[in-house]
């Protein structure tokens, strides 16, 4: 179907505007030097495609241009990384390595707590460490529902955001990755907040979380910032998830340390998966989270379904299992990545990488 001239003109103008925005993905110096002529070239190509009078021509042009943009922006960033002074590379590498090691250790600790929780959940009798376990979780890992004070969860969340965010930022060092991580992290923060809110509201009638919700609901009414802190936790996880993926992508063509980069990519994906689930579930929870009057409904936080308790229990175990596995694997990965950063291996690999065509 051929587009009318006016419609074609609008399509071209909109395409050029979108492309000009996407050009921000290139390093700043390259953008300053070439963004204008690149937008002109793309505009010419759009007008030529529009003159063909068939919609697929513009769609084909967009597909080819996006692929070209992705590859060339990555290559340009890899070049840009090589130009960072050696001393700065070393100090950045050391800082990222240290952050990775601390983050990895914290995650392993979190994974160990998860394992103990799982054992406690699946055994008929309460484990002997039940009280200690819940006190520890209260102090460190469940700031929304369980925290007796602000201090420990605040410290925990700040540490998460600083360490994971710093690691991701150092890995990417601005440019397209920072834009991408920033965008997804903002989405993560928003959805994390919605999820936290839904936990507070959704568990109001839950038998399983009744004591937790009493505290949390009171917190919400009193303007307690804990749900926001939980959202920051999600923010930190998202930043590092996207950051790890970005690191893997930008370093893929170096031809060095490919195995560890595969691990990094895997860990990045693993970091994102539980939260994609959360993002899908969050709005659904909000919609159905008004009190249902089911006093013993056993609703799980983060799930879009209201399940009776016997059905909810295995789901809860599964969720804990995923989160625990995620924490353990990611913790090990961060430790490994931290070691590589400390040893300067990542900086060396980027510096020695051959130029991309």
């Amino acid at each position: 179907m051929s587009a009318t001239p006016a419609r074609a003109s609008r399509l071209v103008a909109a395409s050029v505007a979108v492309y000009q925005t996407l050009l921000l993905l290139y390093p700043r110096r390259f953008h300053a030097q070439f963004a204008e002529p690149m937008a002109l070239v793309f505009g010419d190509a759009c007008r030529a495609a529009a003159r063909e009078g068939r919609s697929p021509a513009l769609a084909r042009l967009w597909l080819a241009t996006l692929a070209d943009l992705l590859v060339s922006a990555l290559a340009e960033h890899a070049e840009h990384l090589k130009e960072v002074p050696m001393t700065e590379q070393r100090s950045l590498s050391r800082a990222a390595g240290l952050a990775g090691l601390i983050g990895g250790a914290l995650l392993l600790f979190y994974g160990a707590i998860g394992l103990l929780t799982l054992i406690n959940m699946v055994t008929p009798e309460q484990a002997f460490y039940h009280t200690v376990l819940y006190d520890t979780r209260s102090a460190l890992f469940l700031p929304v529902s369980w925290a007796p004070t602000l201090v420990a969860p605040l410290a925990w969340v700040c540490a998460l955001v600083l360490i994971w965010g710093l690691t991701a930022w150092l890995a990417l060092r601005g440019g397209w990755g920072a834009w991408l991580a920033g965008g997804v992290a903002l989405l993560g923060a928003l959805m994390g907040f919605l999820g936290s809110l839904s936990l507070v509201i959704g568990s109001w009638n839950s038998w399983y979380y009744w004591h937790a919700s009493a505290t949390a609901f009171e917190s919400l009414i009193m303007g307690d910032p804990l749900p926001y802190l939980a959202a920051l936790d999600i923010f930190g996880r998202m930043v590092v998830g996207v950051g790890l993926l970005g690191l893997a992508l930008t370093s893929w063509r170096t031809g060095q340390a490919k195995v560890s980069l595969i691990v990094v990519a895997f860990l990045g994906a693993l970091a994102l998966i539980p939260y994609l689930y959360l993002y899908l579930a969050g709005p659904a929870i909000i919609l159905r989270a008004l009190p249902t009057g089911t006093q013993y409904g056993g609703m799980l936080p983060w799930t879009p379904f209201s399940l009776p308790f016997p059905a909810a229990w295995p789901l809860n175990v599964a969720l804990w299992s995923v989160d625990t596995a995620f924490a353990l694997v990611w913790g090990l990965g961060l430790l490994a990545l931290g070691r590589r950063f400390l040893g300067g291996a990542v900086a060396r690999a980027v510096r020695q990488a051959p130029a991309l065509a």
Partner: protein, 130 residues
């Protein structure tokens, strides 16, 4: 300004070689280069704005091309466009690359991987060059 050493034997990337071929004829701006490359390769080599300007950046640094100060008449020109022309070093690099490719073509022909444009038999099953 002295030209950075390119090294005549260093192979060019396909994008660089196509750009030099396009500029060997005359000065061109970005979209003009893309059209010339498309025409010269019979549509077989597509280059997007990102790859084009990354290559231009590298070739400027290597002294293979330079920005041209000469422009068309104002009524036929968009002042935002940048025109580029090939340098002497660029011509040498393009010639060296062409010679390298010619040697490869000869080797392929000698191994009966390519039809002989001079009337020889094409390699069995490959159809040969048209």
């Amino acid at each position: 300004m002295s030209e950075p050493a390119m090294g005549d034997a260093a192979p060019l990337t396909p994008a660089m070689f196509h750009i030099l071929l396009a500029l060997a004829e005359r000065e061109r701006h970005g979209y003009d280069m893309i059209q010339a490359i498309d025409a010269a390769s019979g549509g077989g080599f597509k280059i997007g704005p990102g790859t084009l300007y990354r290559s231009i950046k590298q070739m400027l640094a290597l002294g293979l091309i330079e920005e041209s100060g000469e422009r068309p008449a104002p009524d036929q020109d968009d002042e935002r466009r940048r025109y580029y022309r090939i340098t002497a070093a660029g011509r040498r690099a393009a010639s060296a690359e062409a010679a390298r490719l010619a040697r490869l073509v000869s080797a392929a022909r000698a191994r009966r991987l390519l039809g002989d444009f001079g009337g020889g038999e094409p390699a069995p099953g490959l159809g040969g060059a048209q």
